[in-house]
Amino acid sequence: MASILSGTASRAVRPPASGAPKLQNEFMSGAKFVIIRIAAPVILVVLWQIAAVAGDSLYFPPPSEIAVRMYELWFSGPSPWFVTPALVADIGSSLGRMFAGWGIAVVLGVALGIAIGRSRVVSQLVDPIVHFLRSTPGPALIPVFLILLGTDNLMRISLIAFGSIWPVLLNSIDGVRAIDSTQLETGRAFGLPWRARIFRIVIPAAMPKIFAGIQVSLAVALVLMVISELTVSTDGIGHQLLTAQQTFALTDMWAGIALLAILGYLLNLGFTVIERRVLRWYRGARQHD
């Protein structure tokens, strides 16, 4: 988690892949590739099952039991979605808070990042402050947020926003600073008003970097969502986890953890799909370089 919380996300600035290895990758991405990708987790689960059954420990129920429990808790609802009200309640309130906090982080992070990145003087002034603040682990601030904002949603949303803004902010600053001066001069020479220059040149040009930051901040937001719910909450997945643990319903607890893993995976997958669409031009432009 430390590596997620520190450092700017630089995934988007890899040097372009050269032609030959890419071609090989394309061969790999056939059936073989799919099988390998599926095989590893399947083997892992099977091993886990065998170990859990053999070990017969109260603390480590076999995955089959966890799966059944997940089904009972969350996926045995009425057709067509088979979702239980409990799932909607747990995930709904959790995700609501997460998206609220993350959304604030993204909007504020991009806006501040542009403001800071556009001015050399401002960025030099703000740089040390930003790096100091972003080095503060989000969870460490829970006591402060509790005192200042109480125990309700506002506190959790603020915590998520505060903790997940840094990757967006830092990457936005970076992205804006790296914009080609010819692109900006083109916008000015053709009489684009400043708003248009921001929304049609600065933001799209910085978008690859911004997206890399947003993706990292999504992971951070998920972590902070759970942590904030483990501390004080009346609903959400974290709350479900905590209650299960306190009532010694260990299968329920594992089911909650598995649900979180699936959620994290799906969120990242969804994000990647959007990113592929939005940054299609970027991929293309780099291949044609």
Binding site: E185, T186, A189, G191, L192, P204, A205, W281, G284, A285
Partner: protein, 266 residues
Amino acid sequence: MTTTAPLLDIKNLHHAYGPGSIAIDDVTFSVNNGKFTSIVGPSGCGKTTLMKSIAGLLSFTSGQVNLLGQDVTEVPSDLAMVFQDYSRSLFPWLKIGANVELPLRYRGLDVKEREQRTQESLEAVGLGNKADKYPWELSGGMQQRAAIARALAFHPKLLLMDEPFASVDAQTRADLEDLVGHVHRTLGMTILFVTHDIDEAVYLADEVLVLSKSPSRVVERIAVDLPAERDQVTTKESSAFVTLRSQVARLIRHAPDSESVGAANE
């Protein structure tokens, strides 16, 4: 002929990027409406600085730039620019059509007019069927055509071109030169064209402006009295052309530094 005020009037333009780094010493010239003026000068003599001063992209140290009777203090609205570096001037996140259309959105044109102008100018540069391509899907020459189309669609009173063909191959370059010459003749657009290629400067222009080494001054203005219709082969082999290009070459080769130009101008 009536004596109207020049479209562009530059008086004693001087620009220093910092103490001691003077890019333009003292440049004065004017351009009449509808004229094609080439600017040649050694590399680093301040040609790009001059163009940016005219385009309002740079607040020059002193002097006056007057376009259409107005002092240029910010970006003038009747001016378009074609940069040397087309690959960095076209926006890679927009398709060719959208690149051409974008500046038109802020000129008070409705959707239909914008689409029409975009299509017209893309056709004028031979890219009528490329509107849905991204810039990076096209060759360098085609990208520069798209940049020209963007400038044409803008309907500027003055078109600035800063070494626009410096990074395309020879054949493409000849094609693009003829395209620009054609645009100049058919649309009567006033064009200021920076190049370090003497042939290109003479071939296209009504007038060639020779700049001295940095910090620059105007060494000479040479009227190009070749027939309006030009041809890559016949024009360039004509004795008038050959004489002109030698004249320009001699001026550049023996470009005096600014002191002696200043002295000669006394």
